[in-house]
């Protein structure tokens, strides 16, 4: 079963490497975000100041993360610069985890299209006529979504680092971050497969996915801390799997930054909140793996 799934996955990977434009855009888009948003926010906060959405990360006593809007503290530009430098966290540092999360999401949410294509053009029937376990088809395609998600996520992580974003935890944090990316890639892959199995044409999948990705993106805390959102948006944020990925990535990659305040925080200290994120992401991924499996088994006899 795993072997056959791998063959199916291999085909999808071949497709992917042939889609040059898609590869380029999947890397360029996040970089544009990082540079335009990440840097411009930095400049504004340190030089000009007064940007409302500017935020810094400060470790609190109770919750490990307390996000402050600098404007709400009515700090002068100079003060905000001082605090930022003192904490050592720029907007870029805050933002890049969000960009990775969003990249992972977009890498996976369209993977169900391939099932629709295959059904439409008869390739699916050919797979069904061959003596492979039926489920390996779904498994292989989900595997592909997962691989693509983690590769694109890792590339953006590397590039963020190159353009000046800081990783404050080291290798263990990075490894943990990759595991979280993998988990949600699998979830979004299974989610997209579920749609692909049910829908008959690709426009429908495009429509549905486009409709939901924007709210997921905005409410995920990629741009601004969830804590600084209006409460109605926070409700959405906490029901959004991407929120937990972005949060987990920040914890994994910046977890150690609290020690900059002289506080004894490290990866170990953020563990409870990481576990919360892990549970939330596992629940999402597990649910859609089950839904996808049921739908798939129902659609092929």
């Amino acid at each position: 079963m795993i072997k056959e799934a791998y063959y199916i996955c291999e085909r999808e990977l071949r497709h992917f490497i042939r889609m040059k434009i898609q590869i380029i855009s999947s890397i360029v888009t996040p970089i544009v975000w990082l540079v335009f948003f990440g840097y411009s926010m930095n400049i504004m906060s340190s030089g000009l100041g007064g940007i409302n959405t500017l935020s810094v990360l400060i470790g609190g006593e109770r919750s490990f993360f307390l996000y402050f809007l600098i404007s709400s503290l009515k700090l002068t530009p100079l003060q905000s610069l001082v605090i930022q430098n003192y904490l050592g966290i720029s907007y870029l540092d805050f933002f890049y985890s969000g960009v990775i999360g969003v990249t992972v999401m977009f890498a996976c949410v369209f993977s169900g299209l391939s099932i629709i294509w295959d059904k439409r053009f008869g390739f699916f029937n050919k797979l069904l006529v061959s003596p492979i376990p039926r489920f390996s088809i779904m498994l292989g395609k989900t595997m592909y979504a997962m691989i693509r998600g983690i590769i694109q996520g890792a590339i953006i992580l590397g590039l963020s680092f190159l353009i000046g974003a800081r990783i404050r935890t080291g290798i263990v944090g990075v490894a943990l971050a990759l595991i979280f990316m993998l988990l949600l890639s699998l979830g979004f892959g299974a989610f997209s497969m579920s749609l692909g199995i049910k829908l008959a044409d690709q426009e429908a999948l495009f429509g549905i996915v486009n409709m939901i990705t924007l709210p997921l993106f905005i409410s995920s805390g990629a741009f601004m801390p969830v804590e600084s959102m209006p409460s109605w948006l926070q409700v959405i944020a906490y029901g959004n799997p991407l929120t937990y990925l972005v949060d987990a990535l920040r914890l994994c990659l910046l977890g150690g930054s609290y020690s900059a305040l002289g506080l004894p925080f490290s990866l170990m200290d953020v563990a409870p909140r990481l576990i919360r994120d892990l549970v939330a992401l596992s629940a999402f991924t597990g649910t859609f793996l089950i839904i996808g499996t049921i739908l798939f088994r129902g659609s092929v006899k």
């Binding site: 294509w117 053009f121 008869g122 029937n125 069904l128 006529v129």
Partner: protein, 330 residues
């Protein structure tokens, strides 16, 4: 035991579309069996049931001795399937398509390599093996599709309208290749709505219309049933010859039309020399002769009251639209 045994097979889609009304037939090992019928006759439905893609509403079918509903995996290992709509992967090369297929059939690596070369040669695609399928013509895609169907050495190959929309030259290439593989021992089950295809290719033909088999037999026998061959003779003394011909046992019927003799016989080729001999004995000079053979379309008309030809334009049009759609892919 026959390689395919179908008994009273019925298929009803969505509770109201009756695609098969209960058909029965056998296919013998080693033969080329043709399923001839117009659009909507139930050909694809039959192939899909035999290839374990859909389940029948009632009745039974065995392929290679295994029940298609109860032991689909055993059936799958032994069959090759060439679907009606071309389904090779456009974004892979021909070789990559075959590689993937071979892997799905668990062929070991060395066998895989050898067999891929063999089938590429059989369908004449060696030179294009490493090109993307995107760049292939319709005929080449079909041939690749057939190569794929054959790759894992199936006992029987199912082909659903394999020459639909192809130009005459490409069709003949495919017929030759199918005959070649049949000689190597592969049983072939082919559906078509081209009567000449069924006629030239098949050992055994079943004529299907509106979910029912209307006639079955060797193409030659089926055509004989419609009446036989017709000879047209131009002579210098048609009345004298006509009189003689009517007395001969191998002449079914003969009439004179505007001085031309219209003679119905069982087998034209065999009878022509005999008629020439009779004419010479009578001193009658035959100036011209032509032979007109009945087609499977005549058989189709006899059993269904309609002609197969009416369907053609529709199908070609559908194929064109399909190819357009396929190009827009990705």
């Amino acid at each position: 035991m026959s390689i395919i045994e179908v008994r009273d097979l019925k298929k009803v889609y969505n509770g109201n579309v009756v695609a098969l009304k209960g058909i029965s037939f056998d296919v013998e090992r080693g033969e080329i069996f043709g399923f001839l019928g117009p659009n909507g006759a139930g050909k694809t439905t039959t192939v899909h049931i035999l290839c374990t893609l859909i389940t029948p509403t009632s009745g039974s079918a065995t392929v290679c001795g295994f029940d298609v509903v109860k032991e689909p995996d055993e059936v799958r290992k032994r069959i090759g399937f060439v679907p009606q709509d071309i389904s090779v992967d456009d974004d892979l090369t021909a070789r990559e398509n075959l590689e993937l297929h071979a892997k799905l059939y668990h062929m070991p690596k060395d066998l895989r390599k050898r067999r891929i070369e063999e089938v590429l040669e059989l369908v004449g695609l060696q030179e294009r093996a490493d090109n993307l399928v995107k760049t292939f013509s319709g005929g080449m895609r079909r041939r690749l599709e057939i190569a794929e169907g054959l790759l894992h050495n199936p006992e029987i190959l199912f082909l659903d309208e394999p020459t639909i929309g192809l130009d005459p030259a490409s069709r003949i290439v495919i017929w030759d290749q199918l005959k070649e593989m049949n000689k190597e021992g592969v049983t072939i089950f082919i559906t078509t709505h081209y009567m000449d295809e069924a006629d030239r290719l098949c050992d055994q033909v079943a004529i299907i219309d509106l979910g029912e088999i209307r006639a079955m037999g060797k193409p030659g026998e089926l055509k004989e049933e419609v009446g036989g061959d017709v000879l047209f003779l131009v002579t210098n003394d048609s009345n004298k010859l006509l009189e003689k011909l009517l007395s001969l046992p191998f002449i079914k019927d003969a009439v004179s039309q505007d001085g031309t003799l219209r003679v119905t016989v069982k087998s034209g080729e065999k009878v022509i020399p005999l008629i020439f001999e009779e004419a010479r004995n009578l001193g009658v000079n035959i100036e011209a002769v032509s032979l007109s053979k009945p087609t499977l379309d005549d058989v189709f008309v006899k059993y269904t009251g309609r002609s197969l030809r009416d369907e053609k334009i529709d199908k070609v049009e559908r194929f064109k639209q399909y190819m357009l759609m396929k190009r827009r892919r990705r």
